[in-house]
Symmetry: C2
Subunit: 176 residues, 2 copies
């Protein structure tokens, strides 16, 4: 059985939307996804980098993330044909571990704790595929990197791109 | 550069000694390492299994662990010739993440956060070697399992055994 490792933020958990909501509320702005296409919020507003990081570094941030559309149903389907691991680069937000586990328990109850990995450098992940929104994780990954579209990565062209979970379903299960 | 993944509890952190100290204190006993050779404390005293688990499920437990003798100096030496990752099966004690990271920061400051992995099933770890005290982690591991001696594993015979960190130094750097 081949193994698919799946990132959390921006792939199954809508990190970006929650970040924009909290940013707009705190700074009384009305930024939309289009305003941050091709760039991270911290890069767009470098003078607010620390404040933006602080928005994320809260347990409640990760608990509140919405599930990316169709990720639950497609991953459950995939789990009958592939071994599924969740691989999150959680070392940047070390107070997020508990919130992330609880979020997975609630939203992906069919994924066992044994199949969850918190890491920094994803080259340590042994899998045939890695679905991620950050191409830098693919550089030393031994399997096939699959880019999941997020506003910050729309200009990347080096990897198979999935715009949504129907694309993922088609890529992995299209021949069924 | 080949990669060595190294477990925490019982390999670089003296889990067993702290567990015995806390057990003896709580139940007014005088058990020694010899009393639990070849068996886990929970198996030796199944009627106290929950209480023994509770001893471990405390943040302070992981913060207080002593460093296994010579692990720091040998791992630092190894890091010049091998890529070092710490791979801890932390999903059994999910409130231990923060304490484990802080313990590593204090005791192994030369290991970067990017090279730390918290997982359940260690078959997800991509490395050439895995130094661990639990043979069940070797079953689906793609590299070479190296057993680090701990009272509970003294009867295992299927893997190269290291009784201490001088043995590890000799195994990996003996030809230098």
């Amino acid at each position: 059985m081949k193994r698919i490792a799946i990132d959390m933020d921006e792939v199954i958990a809508d990190f970006h939307a929650e970040q924009l909501v909290r940013f707009n509320y705190k700074f009384n702005k009305n930024l939309t996804s289009k305003d941050v296409q091709g760039i991270k919020l911290q890069k767009l507003m470098p003078h607010l980098e620390k404040e933006i990081d602080d928005l994320i570094n809260q347990d409640s941030f990760f608990r509140n993330l919405k599930v990316i559309e169709n990720s639950q149903i497609v991953i459950e389907k995939l789990s009958f044909k592939y071994e599924i691991f969740i691989a999150s680069a959680a070392m940047d937000h070390t107070n997020s571990f508990d919130a992330k586990l609880k979020w997975l328990d609630v939203n992906f109850p069919f994924i066992k704790r044994s199949n969850i990995v918190f890491c920094g450098d994803k080259s340590i992940v042994k899998a045939d595929y890695l679905i991620d929104d950050h191409t830098h994780h693919f550089a030393n990954f031994s399997g096939q990197g699959i880019l999941f579209t997020s506003p910050h990565n729309i200009n990347e062209t080096d990897y198979p791109r999935m715009d949504n979970w129907k694309d993922v379903e088609n890529y992995f299960l299209g021949d069924i």
